[in-house]
């Protein structure tokens, strides 16, 4: 199975995402923001970083990158798409996911090992976990506060579309401790923390992050 990882100018965790795909036995395919389409990949990861510098609003400019049109189409057509951190911001800016990400309530960039609770283990990206499972992965962001209006939040809860929640301390002021959400169809997931940095005991706090990548491999193979 081929998983594409999009590199925007200013993407930083693209190499880590590619490595995570390889470590979970997928075929990692680098994609460039200027390409017209996502070619023949089976899933797409939008990685962390500061696409185009993110000076305006995170993800605001990347959302208009040439490749995004094809990513948006593919997402609407059901292809699994995972946006991590900056990728999550891009997905919100592209209106593939509800809500938005704002400056951390502490007004500082925060990088730390974070406990997360997987709330929904039935998405294409979380099926390797069990609902309620706690994992530890790094979180690192300056604008990672998830916000949405109350009706949207209520709907997300009702439809079980909160994928992961911060357990323990909320690092960025996200409403209702939300760390990740999924679209209605269940194929597009946005996640603020970084599972791709938790795939090897040597370089991460755990290997708990692998589950996101093995999930999509299993679900697509099984489909």
């Amino acid at each position: 199975m081929r998983i594409g990882v999009v590199t925007f100018p200013g993407s930083l965790d693209d190499g880590d995402a590619l490595r995570a795909v390889r470590l979970s036995a997928g075929e990692a395919v680098p994609l460039w923001h200027g390409e017209p389409d996502v070619r023949d990949v089976d899933a797409v990861v939008l990685p962390g970083g500061f696409a185009y510098g993110d000076y305006l609003r995170c993800g605001a400019i990347a959302r208009f990158a040439p490749i995004m049109e094809s990513v948006i189409d593919a997402a609407r057509g059901g292809m699994p798409v995972l946006g991590i951190c900056n990728g999550f911001q891009v997905l919100c800016e592209a209106h593939l996911l509800p809500g938005a990400l704002v400056r951390n309530d502490r007004r500082k960039f925060v990088c730390r090992d974070q406990r997360l609770r997987i709330e929904n283990a039935r998405t294409l990206w979380t099926s390797s976990y069990t609902a309620g499972q706690e994992i530890v992965v790094p979180v690192k962001n300056g604008e990672g506060g998830y916000v949405a209006d109350e009706p949207t939040l209520d709907r997300l809860e009702a439809e079980r579309r909160v994928v992961a929640r911060y357990a323990g301390e909320n690092p960025n002021g996200s409403y209702r401790d939300i760390a990740g959400v999924v679209n209605e169809r269940g194929n597009v997931v946005g996640l603020m923390p970084h599972p791709e940095h938790a795939v090897d005991e040597l370089t991460g706090p755990s290997t708990d992050g692998l589950g996101f990548f093995t999930s999509v491999l299993e679900s697509v193979v099984g489909a």
Partner: protein, 757 residues
């Protein structure tokens, strides 16, 4: 606007020129006239003044720094691939890999505009590393501030930390270590020293020289604007405080704003240019901008270059030629490219959205000429600008007060006696400004990006994997202790070296090479100059004894407020190699039942100690004795213990002594420890002495015999001082015990309380 051409200069020899305002002395100005056989044009004057400033020419420090050049130019792995004089030193680390690293100061700009000053400090050092042909893979930052509770620290520290993080995080370089130290002498004169490390294959090494007549000179990256004009000379030659001490006056140097996204593009673009073999010579633009890049490239190459200044893309069309030459706009590089490669060069720049312009070419004559609107505004021998600036033998003298300082021994200070007093002292120290947890700072830095960070804060050294297959990696640490250096500049510099060396060694790495940033007060003060000379001598002798070259570094002088200089602060960065990062040793107790050993000899040494500072506000006496041979034995012991899997954690002892090392070791994973005081030691000395060449390690239960015979075989002092448990307390038997929660609150809340969550 009339332009001062060389013709005009020849015709008007007596026109008055503002050389003094530009920081030149009268004999320096006379020398320029002498070199040129006429008065300089205003553009030439601009170039000479920035290039002959203290910051660029090292005119006060050069005679001392020569000692570093006399050290052996190889490490235990191999010959240096580049040494002092290049943008950064390059060290062979084996398997065909080379590592380049360097530390540089951005002190004054960081006081004026903390965020941007620190950010552009990181940006500048990253370009130095890039210019060697390497991919930057990590950064570190060594910081000094005034007292923690001083109002100005509230302004400066959060801005500096946000700036280091903002730039480094956005470039995608993991921050793998550094220091934060507070002392009243750094108020209004913070130190921001940034280090970058890069990796390349041997054959990818590039040097800064313009050779090959007819080769094209290309300026690429950001456009040139009016920022930082004159910054270099003004910054480095005078204090930036106005006489009334107020902020924001017009005499303040202008500060640059960094664009890390542009720099990220510049990195990727440059690496592709290297990999396609399109670059014959390269130089980053930093202090002194184009003046520096053109004269240094020409001087190091065939000696001739012609530049058409009109071709420099500008952000502000009203800039005069001298301003363009002096501008310190960030995120620019200059490359020397063979004519046949220019087209492909431009193409690659376009893919990365990086602006590039051919602005000149390499010429045979030994002249650097600059043309503006068809007329020549600069015509100079480039060596006289770049490499043959003034050199001063500044007078130096041991200050009269040094004797009194040494005589003020800490032995008369009241010491805590009894368990309760020791307990209270340990907690107070753990919460003190210089010893409390740094996580408020380090949590703002991305340490995970690139996926190769094996150790970072809070570990003793940063460890980065450079080869996924073999596990080859590098370790880096920076250290410096201004109080020790004030008591004895020679030993102080060696203690900084010893500490950085030890911090690298406790991770299981073999220390290889050194970079340094020498932060001192005014060189015009003979006492300061003595501190400087002694520190250099100490560092050079120390490196010789340890068999490590100094591969490059930076000098920052005039760090003082009024007549009060900062504590003399040589910061030493040590690079080590790790054969296989899978066997690296972190610190922190993890497994109940493991045995705790103290390695090295503990003496009654409190001169310059954190205890004397925190509890008595005292500074006097002699710093701890340095014995670099013992440091080397300790490093060697740790290397073998690590390789054979005999230790599961190791932590070096430095500021705050064993008490602090134990505090950090128990809090890391929330494991308790029961510790006992060896019979031959006083409990207070045992807990708080800062004797050097020591470390605390934990040994798995079954490995005790092998471990102790390793130590005995080497006759290295070792004492079994405790055992790890999960009782949730740090207990010193017969003295006191502290619940970990209480210790954690003391140690971890201080910075957040001060600077806000």
């Amino acid at each position: 606007m009339t332009v001062d051409t060389i013709e005009n200069a020849a015709k008007t020899p007596d026109d008055p020129q503002p050389w003094a305002e530009l920081g030149l002395k009268d004999d320096e100005y006379a020398r320029i006239r002498d070199i040129l056989g006429r008065r300089p044009t205003s553009s030439e004057l601009a170039m000479y003044s920035v290039m002959w400033s203290e910051h660029c020419s090292y005119k006060s420090s050069k005679v001392h720094l020569r000692r570093f050049g006399e050290l052996q130019q190889e490490t235990s792995v191999g010959k240096l691939l580049a040494g002092i004089g290049e943008n950064a030193g390059v060290v062979d680390v084996g398997n065909g890999y080379a590592v380049t690293f360097k530390i540089e100061s951005h002190n004054h700009p960081s006081y004026v505009e903390p965020y941007q000053g620190a950010a552009t400090g990181v940006g500048g050092i990253v370009r130095d590393i890039l210019a060697m042909g390497a991919r930057p893979v990590g950064v570190m930052d060594s910081l000094r501030f005034g007292p923690l509770d001083a109002p100005d620290t509230q302004r400066v520290l959060p801005g500096v930390v946000a700036g280091v993080g903002g730039y480094g995080n956005c470039l995608g370089l993991p921050n793998v270590g550094g220091e934060v130290v507070f002392d009243p002498t750094y108020a209004r004169n913070p130190l921001v020293n940034a280090l970058c490390v890069g990796v390349m294959r041997h054959e990818q090494l590039h040097l800064a020289k313009a050779s090959g007549v007819g080769n094209q000179v290309i300026l690429y990256g950001a456009r040139t604007g009016g920022d930082g004009i004159g910054g270099v000379s003004v910054l480095a030659s005078e204090t930036f405080e106005d006489s009334d001490g107020s902020a924001g006056s017009s005499r303040r140097p202008s500060v640059q704003v960094g664009d890390p996204f542009m720099e990220k593009l510049l990195i990727e673009c440059t690496l592709q240019l290297f990999s396609e073999g399109l670059i014959a010579g390269i130089q980053d633009l930093g202090g002194a901008g184009l003046s520096c890049a053109t004269s240094e490239l020409a001087s190091a190459g065939d000696g001739g270059m012609h530049v058409v200044l009109d071709r420099v893309p500008l952000r502000d069309s009203t800039l005069a030629p001298e301003e363009i030459l002096m501008s310190e706009s960030q995120e620019r590089m200059m490359a020397v490219v063979e004519p046949a490669s220019v087209e492909r060069f431009m193409e690659i720049c376009r893919t990365w959205d990086v602006r590039a312009d051919v602005i000149g070419e390499v010429t045979p004559a030994g002249r650097l000429t600059v043309e503006w609107r068809g007329e020549t505004v600069v015509d100079v021998p480039p060596r006289t600008v770049a490499h043959e600036g003034p050199v001063y033998q500044r007078p130096y003298e041991r200050p009269a007060w040094q004797d009194d300082l040494e005589a003020a021994s800490p032995s008369s200070l009241a010491r805590p006696s009894g368990g309760d007093a020791l307990r209270e002292t340990l907690i107070r120290m753990a919460a003190s400004a210089n010893l409390c947890s740094r996580s408020w700072v380090t949590d703002q830095y991305d340490r995970y990006v690139l996926g190769n960070t094996v150790l970072a804060q809070p570990d003793d050294a940063g460890v980065i994997r450079i080869d996924e297959e073999s596990g080859l990696g590098i370790a880096m640490a920076t250290d410096g202790n201004g109080r020790y250096t004030k008591l004895d500049p020679y030993s102080g510099a060696q203690l900084a070296l010893a500490e950085a060396y030890r911090n690298v060694a406790v991770t299981g790495a073999r220390p290889l090479a050194v970079t340094d940033c020498l932060n001192f007060g005014s060189p015009e003060d003979p006492g300061v100059m003595w501190q400087f000379a002694e520190a250099v001598r100490g560092l050079a002798d120390g490196c010789q004894q340890l068999g490590m070259p100094v591969t490059g570094g930076n000098v920052s002088l005039y760090n003082q407020t009024g007549d009060t200089p900062i504590l003399p602060t040589p910061i030493v960065g040590v690079l080590g190699v790790v054969d296989d990062v899978r066997s690296r040793i972190p610190y922190g107790f993890r497994e109940p039942g493991q045995i705790i050993y103290l390695l090295g000899a503990t003496r009654d040494e409190f001169g310059g100690s954190e205890w004397a500072h925190v509890v008595h506000g005292h500074l006097g006496g002699a710093p701890p004795a340095v014995d670099l041979d013992v440091e080397r034995e300790l490093a060697d012991l740790l290397y073998h213990a690590c390789r054979d899997g005999l230790v599961t954690s190791a932590h070096d002892l430095s500021d705050g002594g064993l008490g602090q090392a134990l505090t950090e070791s128990v809090l890391r994973h929330g494991m308790g420890a029961r510790v006992w005081v060896p019979d031959d030691l006083d409990p207070f000395v045992f807990l708080f002495s800062e004797s050097s060449a020591r470390a605390v390690v934990s040994v798995p239960h079954g490995e005790e015999v092998r471990f102790t015979s390793l130590c005995e075989g080497r006759r290295f002092p070792h004492a079994r001082i405790g055992v790890v448990d999960d009782a949730g307390v740090l207990e010193v038997q017969g003295q006191f015990s502290i619940p970990l929660d209480e210790l954690r609150r003391a140690h971890e809340s201080r910075l957040a309380q001060t600077f806000g969550d």
